[in-house]
Each structure stands twice: as structure tokens, then as C-alpha cells.
């Protein structure tokens, strides 16, 4: 046995020499504290703190450059009576609900299509994600150009196909504007749904489908009784994330219509921006933003409970 062996025979002596820092970091609790510290600081500073500030702002009458005084729920009361605000609330709900339904339906269809084997599948999957990858503002401009009443390629195509005879003012017609915005949102969101649901589909054992087929189930029945229930957990999570993002959406509407025409596409976020940043009424803007919160919370809690229930099964 070499000398080094003899030295290594005294582990207990060495243990006592260990520095206090190393000792401390061996303790799970201290190590966890050190590892989580930067995150907690950053998130505390730039999420928790602004949230509190936002609440405080909303109960004062601050404007840009003018410090405010406490006014209680005055801002919220004003909002309640503000017809534009009520329109914005309604629009946001319609926008979110309709877009989500279409994104889910089309996304699921696309996922089912992609779940088969075909040549070029990898390419298809990669290209399909592009609307989701490319910065929203940039692709939205392309749509804006496509919707332009004078130069719209969509109008041209529909005209050529004989479907329309006069021009469609996609973004300028108050009755159409929300639909147009929803179309763009759906276009952007379908890839996210499709790829996520595809991943979910791929975790489902194909033998289950085969067993059902042997048992005599037709494709639609197989989907409804075998695939859909197993896909539900993933679906719920996808819908949860998507609903929150859509509810708080800003970029799309800002670029396409700015909230108009005549507030036909005004949403929580765009209205908050218009009031808070546009006209400088910070407190009221903050109040509008915060008004989102209870609705978001309800949506989140409902979905989380549903997810819990589905997972338990």
C-alpha cells in the first residue's frame, strides 16, 4: 500500500478541516436558498414590486409628471361606467373565446394530420411552427398589408374566385375588424396547439387504438373514446397558457387596428395602453390593467382545478 493510501485512510481528520461554506452548502436548505436567491430577487423586484405598485397606482389619481392622491375605488367606478371599457371587456372575452375554440379545433386537426408518417414530415413540422417563431409584430404587418382595403391580395383572390363582388374592408369595417383580428390570432396560435397536441398524441400507445379498432370502433368513435380522454391533460395545459396570452394580447391589435375602428377591436391591454401611455392617465391605465386580473385568476383557477382532476384519474 502506497503512502497516498495511508493518507487517505484518515478521512475523518480531513472532514473536520472542511470550510464552513462547504459545510453550509451541504445542507439542502442553505444550498436551495443560495441557488434560488438570484431568481427570487429578480422576480421580486420586477414582478411582485410592480404588481403592488400597480395596485397602489390604481387607487390614486396619478398622471404623468403629476403625483397623485389616494382616491379609493374612484378609478374602478369610473371604468364601470365607461362604455369603451365595457366594450373592451366584451371584445376581449369574445376575442379569447372564439380564437381559442378555432385554435383548438384547427390545431387538433393539424396534429392528427401530422401524426401519420409521410415523406417530408420533419420539414412540414419545422415549417409549420414558423408563424409562432417569427416575431408577432413582423408577421402581423404582413397580414395588415394583406388586409389593406386597396391593395389586398385576399380581396383579389376572392374576387377572382367569384366569391365577392365589392371590396371587403377587413380592418376598417367595424363589423369585420374583430373577425379579422381573430383570424390573425388563430393563424399565429394554431402551430403552438398543433405541435403541443402532436407531442401529446405521440405519447398515446398506438396499441390502444388498434385494440379499439379490433373491437369494432369506427375512426370517429376511436378518437372520442380513446384518443381524446388521453389527450385531455395536455390539451388543458395548452389551453391554459393560450387563454392567458390571448386574453392579455396587445401586439396584434396594436399593429392591425390600434383598437379601432370605433373601439370595435379594443381590448384590455390596448385600452390600458391608450389611457395610460397615450393620454398619460397612469392611474386609470393601471386600473384597466388590473381589471384583467380577477378574470385571469378565475380562468386560471378553473383550469388548474380541472387539470388536477384530470390528472388524478
Amino acid at each position: 500500500m502506497a503512502v497516498s493510501d495511508v493518507v487517505s485512510r484518515r478521512p475523518f481528520a480531513r472532514a473536520l478541516q472542511r470550510r464552513t461554506t462547504t459545510r453550509l452548502l451541504e445542507d439542502e436548505r442553505w444550498l436551495a436558498a443560495v441557488l434560488l436567491l438570484p431568481t427570487v430577487i429578480l422576480l421580486g423586484l420586477f414582478i411582485a414590486y410592480p404588481f403592488v405598485e400597480g395596485v397602489l397606482l390604481s387607487v390614486t389619481d396619478t398622471r404623468v409628471g403629476v403625483p397623485g392622491n389616494f382616491v379609493g375605488f374612484q378609478n374602478f367606478e369610473a371604468l364601470w361606467h365607461d362604455s369603451i371599457f365595457r366594450t373592451a371587456v366584451w371584445n376581449t372575452f369574445v376575442y379569447t373565446a372564439v380564437a381559442t375554440v378555432f385554435k383548438l379545433g384547427l390545431g387538433l386537426w393539424l396534429a392528427l394530420l401530422l401524426n401519420r408518417h409521410f415523406r417530408g414530415k420533419a420539414f412540414a413540422r419545422a415549417f409549420i411552427l414558423l408563424p409562432f417563431i417569427i416575431p408577432t409584430v413582423l408577421s402581423t404587418f404582413a397580414w395588415k398589408w394583406m388586409f389593406d382595403p386597396t391593395f389586398s391580395v385576399i380581396n383579389w383572390t376572392l374576387f377572382r374566385l367569384g366569391i365577392i363582388h365589392a371590396r371587403i374592408n377587413w380592418l376598417g369595417d367595424p363589423n369585420l375588424a374583430l373577425i379579422s383580428v381573430i383570424i390573425v390570432n388563430v393563424w399565429r396560435g394554431v402551430p403552438f396547439y398543433a405541435i403541443s397536441l402532436l407531442a401529446g398524441l405521440q405519447t398515446i400507445n398506438p396499441e390502444l387504438q388498434e385494440a379499439a379498432a379490433i373491437d369494432g370502433a369506427r375512426p370517429w368513435q376511436r378518437f372520442w373514446h380513446v384518443t381524446w380522454p388521453l389527450l385531455l391533460p395536455v390539451t388543458m395545459v395548452v389551453v391554459l397558457f393560450s387563454v392567458i396570452q390571448t386574453f392579455a394580447d396587445f401586439q396584434l391589435v396594436y399593429v392591425l387596428t390600434g383598437g379601432g375602428p370605433a373601439n370595435a377591436t379594443q381590448l384590455f391591454a390596448t385600452y390600458a395602453y391608450q389611457i395610460g401611455v397615450g393620454t398619460g392617465l397612469l392611474s386609470q391605465g393601471a386600473a384597466i390593467s388590473l381589471a384583467m386580473f380577477p378574470f385571469l385568476l378565475i380562468v386560471v383557477v378553473v383550469q388548474l382545478l380541472y387539470i388536477r382532476r384530470v390528472e388524478v384519474h
Binding site: 502506497a2 497516498s4 493510501d5 487517505s8 478521512p11 475523518f12 472532514a15 451541504e26
Partner: protein
């Protein structure tokens, strides 16, 4: 090299009392096996010795030092895991060298030790491969090598052979025994397989529900089990049990049960004196049963109806029904038996075991 002493060791997980007052003394260079069914506390005990699990109460000594407060890296132990736990992103060489690198050994010394261990295990040609390129048996050897290079005071094994297929398991068992003979380090080995326990252990510790049932050399556990659980756990196929009443008749003691009327020899009768008139459990191993030709009147055999005949080649297993009780008899391959045949099973009276009905202890 060192001895390991476990004193009054207890472990509670919230409300679950997993290890209850375990006392054990493992001698230097001894190979001790902890064996028992899942959940008996054997792995928890091992992990407490390793320092991977905190100790609720009691002491663990390695060498002569109490190691309760020492982290795993300071206990001078090495562990081989069931899933090998090889670092997937490192080569075999680096896997084996990791521990020595962490302890800042000099490069030439590391190289010497790694090659020495590789030589013992026959894996010199695998040193540059990554774990995913190795077979199960090779991975286990690397895991062993990683433990050997450290020259620790104690080896700890956590069911290392469970992930190998049956044939490989038998092979590795023999290899392990040879390596232990060669290297000689004290070892604590955990397994649920009683065959591994019997073949590998210098001494075997049988555990159930966190309590040590019996400690002893393998043959002692086989021949003189301390209670019903150990009797049924050690030996394959398992011991047959039957409920019997001890009755005195004509000056001799009889064990009487469903279709069973056995006359007990005087030596046994004396030991069972305290339980006369009571119900006890009778135990007899399948290999201690023979197909006899005598009738049952002399009390040295009992009738049985054959239900299944399993011909293994080296022996025949007869699954029989004795009254309402199912039993197994392991007899020589020459025996002719067929289903639904009635036989008489004879036995050696010295090989009968009796257990108290309430405590399970051997009488």
C-alpha cells in the same frame, strides 16, 4: 478495513416507522447480507449507513468512529447501486476516476488504481467507452470498479444484481464472491433474493417490517429458523406449513391436524411439552418429504393427493393436497407419480419444525 456497528438504529418517515431498533455488529472483512421482502427496511438501513438517509435515533459506527453526522463523502465508503448509476456523459475511465479526482489524488496514482481495478474486473478494453455502449453485465462491472478504486473501508451494495437477467445474475454472483475473497473489504449487501443471500453471505440478516428477525450463518437460518417468517422465507420451494394440535396419547406426543397424525420422537416431545393441548404450526421443507410406502397408522407419514406434477429434470415437485392444505414435496426424478393419485408422504422426524401460533417463534 473496518468493522461496522449499528446500535439501536431507528428511522421514521413522518409517521411510518421504517426501521425499528436494529442492532448489528459486522466484523472486519465480513460479507453480511441484509435480506427480506420489499418494505422491510433493509435498504433504508443501508442508506443510513451510507449517509444518504438521516438517522432518527441510534448510532452507526464505521471503524470506531460514530458517523451519524458525517456526510457520505467523509465516511470512506463506496456504494454499488441497483441501476449502476454510471455517469452517462463520462467514459468508463472517467467514471472510475471521478471519486479519486474529487479527493484530489495525483494523476499517476489515479491511473494506477483505475487500471488495477479494471484488471481485477476484466474491463481493461472498455476504458474509453461510454456507458450507453456497454451491456448490463459490463455496466455492473464498471460500477464495481468505481467502488474498488477508492479502497474504502466498507462496500455497500444495494440490490446490484436485480437488473440483470437470470443467467447473468448467477454468473455475477460467483464473480462477486471471488472479488470479495481477493479484495477482502468489509461488505454490506442488500437483496430481496434469498438465494443471493444464502450463497454470498458470511452471515445473513433477515428483516421484516423494520425489525431484524434473525442473524446467522446461511445454514443456521436454513436448519434452525428462529421464527415462522424466516422459515418460510429461506429455502426454495418454501417450507410447508400446517396447523396442528399437540395431543398426548399412549404416553407419546402426537401432532394432529387435517389428515395428519404424526408421532413425535421423545426429544422433540420434551421441547414441546409446554404447548401440549394447544394449537401450533408445523413446518416441513419440501426436500424433507419423501414418497413412502408405509401406511399412516404408525404416525410417520400422511396421505396426500397429487394435484400437479412439475418435472424439473433434477428433481420432481409434487404439488399435493393434504386434507384442505396445499403442500409441495421435492422428490428424486425417479419417482413415478400422476395427477389425482393418492400417496403417502414420509419424513424425517428430526426435520420437523414447530412454531408458536401467536408469536411465530420457533419452539
Amino acid at each position: 478495513m473496518a468493522r461496522v456497528v449499528i446500535r439501536n438504529l431507528n428511522k421514521k418517515f413522518n409517521e411510518v416507522h421504517a426501521v425499528k431498533g436494529v442492532n448489528l455488529e459486522i466484523r472486519d472483512r465480513e460479507f453480511v447480507v441484509l435480506v427480506g421482502p420489499s418494505g422491510c427496511g433493509k435498504t433504508t438501513t443501508l442508506r443510513m449507513v451510507a449517509g444518504l438517509e438521516s438517522i432518527t435515533s441510534g448510532e452507526v459506527l464505521i471503524g470506531d468512529t460514530i458517523v451519524n453526522e458525517l456526510p457520505p463523502m467523509d465516511r470512506d465508503i463506496a456504494m454499488v447501486f441497483q441501476n449502476y448509476a454510471l455517469y452517462p456523459h463520462m467514459s468508463v475511465y472517467d467514471n472510475m476516476a471521478f471519486g479519486l479526482k474529487m479527493r484530489r489524488f495525483a494523476r499517476p496514482e489515479i491511473d494506477r488504481r483505475v487500471r488495477e481495478a479494471a484488471d481485477i474486473l476484466g474491463i481493461e478494453n472498455l476504458l474509453q467507452r461510454k456507458p450507453r455502449q456497454l451491456s448490463g453485465g459490463q455496466r455492473q462491472r464498471v460500477a464495481l470498479g468505481r467502488a474498488i478504486v477508492r479502497h474504502p473501508q466498507v462496500f455497500l451494495f444495494d440490490e446490484p444484481l436485480s437488473n440483470l437477467d437470470a443467467k447473468l445474475r448467477v454468473q455475477m454472483r460467483v464473480e462477486l464472491k471471488k472479488i470479495h475473497d481477493r479484495v477482502g473489504t468489509t461488505a454490506i449487501y442488500v437483496t430481496h433474493d434469498q438465494v443471493e443471500a444464502m450463497t454470498l453471505g458470511d452471515r445473513v440478516v433477515v428483516m421484516k417490517d423494520g425489525i431484524v428477525q434473525q442473524v446467522g450463518e446461511p445454514l443456521d437460518l436454513y436448519n434452525v429458523p428462529a421464527n415462522r417468517f424466516v422459515a418460510g422465507f429461506v429455502g426454495s420451494p418454501a417450507m410447508n406449513f400446517a396447523a396442528v394440535n399437540l395431543a398426548e396419547h399412549d404416553g407419546a406426543l402426537f401432532a394432529v391436524g387435517d389428515s395428519i397424525r404424526l408421532k413425535l420422537p421423545p426429544a422433540k416431545a420434551k421441547r414441546l411439552q409446554s404447548h401440549v393441548g394447544q394449537r401450533v404450526t408445523l413446518g416441513i421443507r419440501p426436500e424433507d418429504l419423501r414418497v413412502g410406502s408405509t401406511n399412516c397408522a404408525d404416525g410417520l407419514s400422511f396421505p396426500a393427493i397429487v394435484e400437479v406434477v412439475e418435472r424439473l429434470g433434477s428433481q420432481i415437485l409434487l404439488d399435493v393436497k393434504v386434507g384442505a392444505i396445499s403442500m409441495v414435496a421435492a422428490v428424486e426424478p425417479a419417482v413415478k407419480a400422476s395427477v389425482r393419485e393418492e400417496l403417502h408422504l414420509a419424513f424425517d422426524a428430526e426435520r420437523l419444525h414447530f412454531f408458536d401460533d401467536s408469536s411465530g417463534d420457533a419452539i
